[in-house]
Every structure is written in C-alpha cells, then in structure tokens.
Amino acid sequence: MSPTSEPTADEPQHRSPDVDHTNLTSAPELTAADLGLTFEGGHRAIEEVGFRIAPGEFVSIVGPSGCGKSTLLRLVAGLLTPTAGTLDVGATSRDEHRPAFVFQDPRLLPWRSVTGNVRLPLELLGQTSAETAATIASALELVGLTGEDATKSPRMLSGGMRMRVSLARALVTEPTLFLLDEPFGALDDIIRQRLNEDLVAIWQQRRPTTLFVTHNVSEAVFLSQRVLVMTPGPGRIAAEFAVPFEFPRRPGLRAETRFAELTGEVSATLREVSA
C-alpha cells in the first residue's frame, strides 16, 4: 500500500490467521469518520481522521510529537467530545466496553501506596479487596515490581516504576478495549522488550481491541497488526501499514529482514510526513 493513500473505514481488515481465538471475548469495533477536535482556545488538534478498527485488532499509532495522538486516544476513551465527525466505539453502554487507559504521564494518587493505586479501578468497578489481592499481585509481578515496591508511596518511586504502576493499573481490569499512550516511554530496553512480549501474550489471550501510541517504530511493528502514521498537527492519518507477521511474535522477529524492511518503510513515511 502506498503510504500516501488515505485509509478509509471500508478497507478490509488485516487479521492474521494464526491468532488464538479460543479465549476470544467480544471486543468492540471502533469506527471514526471525519473526526476532528478543536480545543476551546481554537487550537485544532486533529482533523478529518477516519479509521475502522476491527474487534480485537491491535493497531499502533505513530506520529510526530504534538500531532494529536494523545488527543485521539482521549476521544476514543470518551474523555473528550469530538467537535466534528463521528466516532463509534461499538458499545451501547459504557459498561460494556470500558476502556483501560494508560496515560502518557503516570498520574498516581499520591495518598495511596502502589497496591492501593493498582486496586483503584477494581474498587471503582465494585470488586471487594478479598478477591482482588491476587489479581493485583500478579499485575504487579507482570510489570516487574516486587513485594517491597508494592507498599511504597508514589513519591518514593523512580520514573520508570511509576509508569509500570500505571500500566499495572490498566492491566488489572482485563479490559476489552485497551488504550495505551506510550506506556513504555520511560522504561529500559530490557524491561521494555519483556513487556512488549507480555503485552502480545495478553492481547492474544484476551483479544482486546487495542490502540497503542508509541514513538518507537520497531515497537509498533513488533506489536501490532496495523500501524497508522499521523501527520504533524492538526493530525490526520497520513498512511497505514498492515503488519503481516504471524502471532505469537518471538524476539527473533526483530532480527529478520522483513521486519527491518517494514520498519524502515514506516520510518521513512514518518520522516516524510514530519518534514
């Protein structure tokens, strides 16, 4: 596909044939047409954005800083209301497909410990502490935080640890719609790659519809079924790339030529639109 071709909502879905469907929960389909958002001050953040994301699809979004990626995610999450166009998140009630959101800034409640912060979404969904303890522990383990860390207050955490807490907070609810705004930005490569693999595994298991914002093109390619490239603000979708690699994706994939080729292609497009 040519990187300049505009994607439309009618485009065929890219679904890899080797995905594990056994555990498939019904995930929402996301459709946007002519979506636009102008902030109150008059700043146009995104413009004429259209896409269709299949239930259970994993789509990455890359684009220059300030192009409106976070804004797009907030629109999908229902935290902002579009000022133009339509957006359908495939749910009749908010309860049905409640998004889990990893914010770009890892905002934690300063008066709660790490565990307390991770427990928050469960509390808000009405689960009692008794049944949640194990869930929380496993989420914390997944992001590589120890039992000692679990009792710390947010002020005593390093930047990366805060980000991981925020990630655990999103994971703990087992969502069907997963919105991640650069969750791995502040993490070292080791933990980042491990989390990449874990994220793929989680996604394969539960198949949430996933929108993943990142600055790292190779991460985008490694994780997703499709990569959307946005233009500088006001952001539009400049190009989209199908990622035809089979799942589960193994670390070895990064070393393969087809991976390097696709990554190079996406990077080139990104550089082009940024210029």
Partner: protein, 260 residues
C-alpha cells in the same frame, strides 16, 4: 544523635526569646510612655493578676476551651459535609453560599436572643456560637480544595464512570486535605473567639463562668490586668487548639503527600 530534651529546648527557645523581647518592649512602653495601667497594664501586673487567681483562670479557660473544641469539631464535620454538597454543582454553590456568608457576617448580638430562647443559657449555646463563627473557613477552604483536583486524575475516575460519591470519597476529599487543614487552622482560632463571644451573650450567667465572663466584667470594672490575663489565657487556648490542629494536619500531610 540529638538529645530529646535538647530538641524540646530548641523548639521552645525561639518563641520564648521573642516573648521576652516583646515583654521587654511592652514593659518599656508602659513605663517610658507612661501609659496608664488601666489602658495597658505592665506585663508584671498581668502576670500577678493571672498568677494570683491561677485556679480560677484555669477553670474558666477549661470551660471556654471545651466549648471551643466542641464548636470547632462541629464546624469541621458540618463544614466538610457542606463543602461536599457545594462541590457537587455550581448551582448548589451559588444558591447556598449566601446562607453560609450570612452565618459569617451576622453579628452574634443580633441572633443571641434567638439562640438563648431556643437553646437556653449555657454550654450548648456557647458551642453553637463557636460553631457559627468557625464554620465558614472550613466550608470555603474545603470547597476550594474539592474543586482543585488534578484534571488527569479526574479523567481516570471518569473512565470508570465513577459515581459522584465515589469521586468525592476517593479523589476529591483526599485531594482537599491540605486545604481542609489550612481551613481548620483558621477555624481553630475563630472557635476560641466564638466561644468567648458566645459567653458574652449566651453564657452561663456568672456562677460557673468562662473566659467570656471574666473578660466582660474585668473590662466593665476596668480591671485591665485581669482583662489581659484572661486575654492571655484565651490566646494560650487558641495556640493549643491551633497547635493540635496543625500537628495533626502536618502529620497527615507528611504521611500522605510527603510535603510539609
């Protein structure tokens, strides 16, 4: 590393030194400017007046203090509850603030008859006045605090469609704690003056009296040294309540926020 007694000493030294300085200046003023003792008594006279009747001042202080603490606690609770209501919508705020302001701007002398007729003379009326006088700062600072929430955290709660009550309980109230503490500091002093003024107008008559009676009568009878001794006790009372509120507040803030 540090001897606990030295710690205590270092806490008390500076205020005591300043106190000595103030007393010296005050003494010099009364002597040098020949200020009449019925206007401003010499510090020594005040001490003598207070010391001579220490038991009485202590008892009066306790009585007034109890009412002040009662009024303060009532304000704290009612003020926080009211602020929670106020934080719910700008309409409630707009509609109800006038009544809160009424409570703050109404001179006690104007409503004292109502209070006395409905609650009678005595402690309960004094507490009520102390409550009325100290309520507003809690309402206004708690409301400000409840509304000054980090918008990103609010988004987090919105994601889960948290009910208003949940947002209030789990986000707004904890965020408002520093503001509530600041309001409580102000209220603590107001509760004391409220109790004293309450005693002026709705107090216990005179057989079992608080500082309000002492102040009123010493003022009428121009026993200025006694008057200042009573005022001094009321300041100590204010300090005690303020100190307690501050320490608790600081402890909470340090524990929760790691700030001073």
């Amino acid at each position: 590393m540090r001897h606990p007694l030295r710690g205590l000493l270092s806490v008390l030294m500076p205020p005591l030194l300043l106190l000595l300085l103030v007393l010296a200046v005050w003494h010099t003023l009364t002597v040098a400017l020949e200020i009449e003792s019925f206007l401003l008594p010499a510090p020594l006279d005040v001490v003598r007046a207070g010391w001579g009747d220490a038991a009485l001042f202590l008892k009066a202080g306790f009585r007034t203090g109890a009412a002040a603490v009662g009024g303060f606690l009532a304000s704290l609770i009612v003020g926080c509850v009211a602020a929670c209501l106020f934080a719910q919508s700008v309409w409630i705020r707009r509609s109800c603030y006038p009544y809160a302001i009424f409570l703050q701007t109404v001179p006690i002398v104007a409503i004292a008859p109502l209070i006395v007729v409905w609650c009678g003379y005595g402690m309960q009326s004094v507490i009520l006045v102390s409550f009325i006088v100290s309520l507003f700062p809690i309402i206004t600072s708690a409301t400000t605090g409840l509304l000054s929430v980090d918008p990103d955290l609010l988004d987090l709660f919105r994601l889960y469609d948290a009910r208003r009550l949940t947002v209030l309980w789990k986000l707004r109230l904890p965020s408002a704690v520093p503001y509530i503490v600041s309001g409580a500091r102000t209220s603590s002093g107001l509760a004391v003056i409220g109790a004293i003024v309450g005693e002026f107008f709705t107090g216990y008559g005179s057989s079992s009296y608080g500082l309000g009676y002492l102040i009123m009568q010493s003022s009428t009878l121009l026993k200025t040294d006694r008057l200042f001794a009573a005022v001094f006790v009321s300041t100590l009372l204010g300090l005690a309540v303020f100190g307690a509120v501050s320490s608790i507040g600081t402890a909470i803030l340090r524990h929760w926020y790691g700030t001073e």
